[in-house]
């Protein structure tokens, strides 16, 4: 059984009722009640004015979570390779394009079009941070968090580099919502490193398993985990928030899940 080991040096978190990693730890570890409310996406201050105006929800979400994680790790975003994993592109933007293409006026705007690519968040991220490093931009439907974590771990282990994982999903409006019911924006960012450093929060060792994915005890958090693909990473964050040796199983593909051994640093 192959195990991939890395050190988590920084965490970013933003979602319904979870405003950042610092304040969410008490909620995830059960010390404070979880009170869901709609995700508030901050304006992306780091982007030049023109790009800021054009940016869509997934851009704001990845910038918020990614920069939180990198600041916590005390690193320069420009130096880090990245892995973006999302179930799909920006839902609102996709809806408007499909609506226009079904109408008599198919002249979609250039901004609509470039915001439709799955790598829109990665593109804006590199513009905002100046990172000329490699960026892997992935989708695996509901398995997107697991796929992103695996890709990031292979970068860390094989290429012996730090990397930042940005797992994010945004809401889908009707009528797409009925076909893909993602209710709100949610993102997790992790800075992963090959060696233990002073800022390391936890060591994780990940392998493939056919065991079932862990569920969360809190019913509202569990429905969040199920509703948004990126939230399938919440049992990992809960394990880290508990600050004790812990084994968790994260959801991945229908045939395969990820077994994660967490050891606090």
């Amino acid at each position: 059984m192959h195990t991939l080991t890395a050190y988590i040096e920084g965490i970013g978190l933003l979602g319904p009722g979870l405003t950042d990693w610092l304040t969410s730890q008490a909620v995830l570890s059960g010390q404070q009640p979880y009170q869901p409310h709609k995700t508030v996406l901050p304006s992306p201050a780091l982007l030049p004015a023109a790009e800021r105006r054009r940016s869509c929800a997934i851009v704001k979400l990845t910038l918020a979570t990614g920069l939180e994680a990198i600041a916590a790790a005390g690193l320069d975003a420009a130096s880090l390779p990245s892995v973006f994993s999302a179930s799909g592109g920006d839902g609102e933007n996709c809806h408007i394009i499909c609506e226009m293409l079904a109408s008599d006026d198919r002249q979609i705007s250039p901004t609509r079009f470039h915001n439709s690519v799955h790598n829109v968040a990665a593109g804006y991220w590199s513009i905002a941070t100046g990172a000329m490093t490699t960026s892997s931009v992935l989708s695996a439907f509901d398995a997107s968090f697991g796929a992103g974590l695996l890709e990031a771990l292979t970068q860390v282990v094989v290429d012996d580099t730090r990397t930042v994982l940005l797992a994010c999903d945004t809401a889908y409006p009707e009528p797409l919502y009925s076909a893909r019911p993602i209710p709100d924006a949610f993102g997790i960012a992790l800075v992963l490193a090959p060696q233990r450093s002073a800022q390391a929060l936890a060591q994780i060792s990940v392998s493939l398993t056919d065991a079932s994915a862990d569920q969360l005890d809190d019913a509202a958090l569990e429905s969040l985990r199920i509703a948004i693909p990126a939230a399938r990473g919440l049992p990992l964050l809960r394990g880290i928030a508990l600050r004790q040796d812990k084994h968790v199983v994260l959801d991945y593909l229908d045939s395969t899940r990820l077994a994660v051994a967490i050891a606090p640093c």
């Binding site: 690519v117 790598n119 513009i127 989708s139 797409l176 009925s178």
Partner: protein
Amino acid sequence: MAYLSLNPLWLSHFTATSSIGRGLDQTLAALRQRRPGLVPCAFDTVDLATFIGEVAGVDAVQLPAHLADFDCRNNRLALLGLTQDGFAEAVRVAIAKYSAQRIGVFLGTSTSGILQTELAYRRRDPVTGALPADFIYRTTHNTFSVADFTRHYFGLTGPAVVVSSACSSSAKVFGSARRMMAAGLIDAAVVGGVDSLCLTTLYGFNSLGLISEHACRPFDAQRDGISIGEAAAFALLERTPEHLDADAVLLLGIGESSDAYHMSSPHPDGLGACMAMQDALKMAGLKSPEIGYIHLHGTATQSNDATEAKAVQTVFGSSTPCSSTKGATGHTLGAAGGVGAVICALGLRHGLLPAGLNTRQLDPTLDLDYLLDNREQPVTRMLSNSFGFGGTNCSLVFARAD
């Protein structure tokens, strides 16, 4: 542990289906005969004056009954591609050799089956606005659907993912597969790319003023935009065995970078493109004169070709033979990296440096050895470029085993 150089990976099988042909024989014949696949656009209800590279017979492809939920143009094209050149049989042999858990699926696409959603939006309920009941998002439109279809088609249970970084997608899959193999999680990988015609890309590129009214003319002084194509290209990657045929094709190097410049324009000096080419050469352990041919991204927009030419000059100078095959296939977007890989593999195997088509007068400001005629000559190493929206760059180095 740092693997600074790549243990070469073997493309044990490969195949491509595009507007110039179904499978390798037709593709090679079209390249040798300089036969383009671009025709005036008559796709669906599209009212744009442009040329497209449409694959013949996609509508007639039938998915197996148990995979009916995956039915859409993109997955039909995927199946058409997978069943050429004995590729599907080769995957089944690999499953018997390595097991279904030890083979990964890494496919690139930009728009996946979005055409299905575009069509569904024409059939919304006039009262509620709801999409039709037969519309299935997960297995058609969703970006992952082509990889999910492929793993279900073969019964593969190992890691699977779609890389969707616009037009670099199916070059970058080689990088993800390499890392997963080097990490020991898998023994082999089905890699490639599938992208199919849809209204989003045709009207989207039109909105940017990047669509040519002609069959696209890469590196021509009068070039005026892209022709959109569709394609399915696949390779089966395995670790290099001790004994290989002389004409076996190996992946020696991968370079990946980001421009950090603009969403839909390349870095004016081609800085990101330079980094990708240099990193691919470094991983391959090669100097630029050791590359015999460069398969250019060469989309035929003013800025892309000018930028790529600058970057190639910086890394290679002006004497390495190069061309873009997009005048033949059109720009197959998320499948372009995979098509480029297969054209390089064919070129290495058969000693063909393919000419660029449609180019009448080379842009005199782009000082490259751009091929306007085929060269039939032995060649041992090739580099293929793929660049995309969002400033994403990927270069691949391929070589003959001898």
